[in-house]
Structure formats: C-alpha cells, structure tokens
Amino acid sequence: MRMLRSVTIGQHIPGDSLIHRLDPRTKILSSIVLIVLLFVVKGFIGYGLVALGIALVVRASNIPLRFVLRGVRPLMVILVFTLTLHLFMTDGRIIFQIWFLKVTWEGLIRGLMMGTRLLLLIIGTSMLTLTTSPMQLTDGIETLLRPGKKIGIPAHELAMMMTIALRFIPTLLEETEKIMKAQMARGADFQSGGITQRAKSLIPLLVPLFVNAFRRADDLAIAMEARGYRGGEGRTKLRELKFQRSDMMALGFVLAFALVVGAFF
C-alpha cells in the first residue's frame, strides 16, 4: 500500500534550461510541427536531420538521457512489432527466405524507416511533457484553444477540468489508501480469491471513494463560487503567458527547419 504514495503524476522534470523557460505554447506548436514533419519526410537523410534537431533540443534541456529513453521503454513492443511486420510483409527483392517468410530489401528499409519515425516521434513529443509542468501545459492548451470558442470549443472549461483532475489525483490516491485500511481493519481482503470474488471485494472500497469524490466536488464548487468564480469570461491570470523574444526565435527556427527539411528530403 505504500506503493500508492510513490506514484508520480506526469513525467515533468523541473529545471531552468532554455527549453524549460520557453512558453508552453511554443513547445506545443513545435511538437505539432515535429509530428507533421515526421510524416512528410521520406528519406534517411531527413530522419537524420530531424534526429539531430531533437538531439540538440535534448542537450539544451539538460535532462539526463535516461529520463528521455525511459519514455521509449513502454513503446518498445510496438516498435519491434512495427519493424517485424514491415520486414516480412513487404514485397520486393528477397534477401533470404525461411519457408513462407520472405525478408525483402524494401521491407527492411520501410521497417527501419517506420521504426525511426516512431522513435523520433516519442522522443520529440516527450520533450514537451518532460520540460513543461502539467499546469503550464493546461495553460498553454487553454490559450491555444481560445480562438476555437467561436466554433463552440469550451477552451476554459476543458483547461479547468484538466487542472482539477490533476489536482485531485494525489488526493484520491490518499483517500483510497485510507478507505482500504479502514476496510482491512474490518477484515476485508483485497488480494485473494478469484476474479468475481476480487471484483466484489472492491465494492466496499469504490462506493465510499465515489461518495467522497462527489462530496469533494460539491465542496469545491461551492468554495469556487464563494470566491467569485463565474467561468472563464473576464477572468485574469496570476501567471500570464508571455511570448518572449526567445519564443519567437525558437518558433521561427523550428518552422524554418521544418520547411527546409520537409521540402528537400
């Protein structure tokens, strides 16, 4: 049960590097550009250049490489799967053949390309979540979505929901631990028994958890209203997002880089 306490939310690693200090909107937009670029680029030279760009960003962020690679681990299976699938399923010049399994040059190249594309995609976008706190991220998303209000996207509400959800994850974990302990003190057993038995044993945990969550939600709504919350209209911010010159430069650089690499490679 002490495990519950050690769960950390997101993978943000605080720091004060050039990348950390960038406006979250710069980083979100750059990530989008990167995603598009990776699907436009068609050759290994292009991938090499993108990899070089990402490597520079990683270097500038001062985040140890092992944290960056940690994000890749859960997706290792997909990477290997993609590679093998392309290796065996593409027609072309045969390198060697085992029974009905043909390995082709085309397959090898396409597999490697897809693998590289995925790998760069993961590492590149994880730079966003590694260097940006969840709060900044929601702030950034809210501001970016704001023009979408005209077509009915509730930007502020979405951001507020994300903020509250993030804020309450640790609280709910703590609460879960408390209720589990209280029910265990009454002889509840959450570990043994078959699937049905175990699912049933969760009722004494889940019912109070939900009841308390709704109670908290009510309390929070009242507390927010008591402090004058009326939605996003006319609301000012403590931490205004500001585009600095460095943001302009970073965005400009990313765009130029993407245009050049995308057009020629």
Binding site: R2, R5, S6, K178, I179, K181, A182, Q183, M184, A185, R186, G187, A188, D189, I203, P204, L205, V207, P208, V211, N212
Partner: protein, 287 residues
C-alpha cells in the same frame, strides 16, 4: 489482551529522497483493560503508531506483539488480529458503503465467516452499544442518516467484530457537543462494563483527563511522556512547549496558585476543583 511494541522504527516512503521517520525507537506496552489516552501535536506519529497495533503498517525494524503473537512475522494471520484489535479511523463515516445499515455494520462479522444469524445478533448488539435501535435502522441506507448517526453506525461496524481492544482516532472530531458527550460516554461504558481495552487518540485534553487512566504523549515520532493523567498533566510546562496544554480546569488551578491561593494543582475535573477550592477557602462548614 496486551499490545507490546519493542524498538519500533517506521518511515514513510522508505528508500526515496522524501523518506521521513514517523516512528523512532518506540517501545510500549498496553495492558489488558487499560483506558489509554494518546495525545501529541499534529504529525507527531499518533496515527502511524496505532496502525501498528493491528498490522496495517509493519515496522521497518522492531517487534509488535498482540497477545503474544508477533505481527511482524510473515505467516501471522492478520485477519484474526484485526478482529481482536478493532480500529476506528478518523471520520469513520467516510467509509460507509452498505446499501443498508445491517449490511454495513455486518461487514466485519461477515468477513469473519460467521453465520447470518450470528451476524444479525452481533449487529443488533453493536448498534445497541452506540445507542441506536436495530429495528428502526436495519433496512435504512446509512447515507440517509444524520452526521452523528453515521458516525455511530461506523463505530458499530467495528464493535460488531467484538474486539477486545478498541483503538479510536479522534472519534469525536466534527461532532456537536452533545454528540461528543454521547460517544465518549458510550466508549467509557464499553470499557467499564464490556471490559474492553481502549486506546483513544484525541486533541482534547479535557476528554483524556476525564476518561483515560494512562496518558501517552507523542512528539516527533517518539514517546515523550507516559504515565497517569496526573503525572503527565503535572508537566504543564513540557506540554506547552510541545504545543499541547493541560485541561482548562487544571490551568485554572495553576493560575490560582500563581496568584497566591494555596491550592493543589493535581486537579483534572471540575468536581475535584470545586472540592479543592471549598477546602482551601474554608467554606466547608457552609455546605
């Protein structure tokens, strides 16, 4: 049913940078039939300590014995221990889940594998202990009850296991004065008539002064003071340094003494204070 702790150390998040010692070399013994008050400032380790009494937490090092059984051994049947050492957590009404009061209060006995008939008997008995009527409440949803009633139903859920030790973590927090009095009186009755060993965690010096035979004061994960109520409240200065205090009536007697009235400061209740003041002032003949 005795509880014995030997050199218990415990820290949360052990092995991580944020690790903090919650208990540091705690040894104590609680004898059968005692009424122990456990006090201490917030974060002094009270809640951590009591969770060692029924094996919800296991010490990093040291031993815990309940009735001679070592809880730190791997093959100890903690479920049996938890039937014997009943634990009422803070705001126990936050753990209610049953569709009916009967189902909720019967949860403990049902986990103990008792027959339906025996469960009903236990529930009836437990509800009676906390001053509730089984016939009226058994089919009601616990969520529809008033705050004080919910608290009682939750306490009954622990009593239904017929524990021989009852550990309560601030059982009166958030109740009105009448509700507090009733719950405390019921606990006192369980101790006096039911012969149950009680460990009461509280911030109210008045409550422990009135009910507990023995006081244990925790400070920064260690036992700072351990003795009878009179012995502990005799150390008013020490308690104040910790951010605690003495019961108001004891405080009054200290003040009277400071102002030159030669009263005894070993006073814990209003009745004792009244008698002492009458004695010192020589009003005895008028009464």
């Amino acid at each position: 049913m005795s509880i014995r702790l030997e050199n218990v150390f415990f820290s949360y998040l052990e092995g991580t940078p944020t690790s903090q010692a919650a208990l540091r070399n705690v040894s104590l013994e609680i004898e059968d039939g005692e009424f122990v008050g456990l006090i201490g400032p917030t974060g002094s380790g009270k809640s951590t300590l009591i969770q060692h009494f029924n094996g919800l937490l296991k010490p990093d090092s040291g031993k815990v014995f309940v009735d001679g059984v070592d809880l730190t051994l791997k093959d100890t049947q903690l479920r049996l221990i938890r039937q014997k050492v009943g634990m009422v957590f803070q705001y126990p009404e936050h753990q209610l889940f049953g569709e009916t009061v009967l189902e909720d209060v019967g949860f403990g006995p049902r986990n103990g594998g008792l027959s339906e008939e025996e469960i009903v008997k236990r529930v009836r008995e437990a509800l009676a202990y906390v001053g509730l009527d089984y016939e009226v409440l058994k089919d009601q949803s616990p969520f529809e009850l008033s705050g004080g009633q919910k608290r009682r139903v939750a306490i009954a859920g622990v009593l239904a296991m017929r524990p021989s030790v009852l550990v309560l973590d601030e059982p009166t927090a958030g109740l009105d004065p009448a509700g507090r009095e009733e719950i405390l009186a019921e606990i006192k009755q369980l101790h006096d008539e039911g012969g149950i060993t009680v460990v009461l965690v509280t911030h109210s010096m008045e409550d422990v002064a009135r009910f507990a035979d023995r006081l244990i004061v925790m400070e920064q994960g260690t036992i700072a003071l351990d003795g009878t109520s009179l012995e502990v409240f005799g150390q008013a200065g020490r308690l104040k340094d910790m951010g605690l205090g003495v019961p108001e009536i004891t405080e009054l007697m200290y003040e009277l003494k400071a102002h030159g009235l030669d009263v005894d400061t070993e006073i814990l209740t209003v009745a004792e204070a009244e008698a002492e003041i009458i004695r010192v002032m020589g009003w005895g003949c008028q009464k």
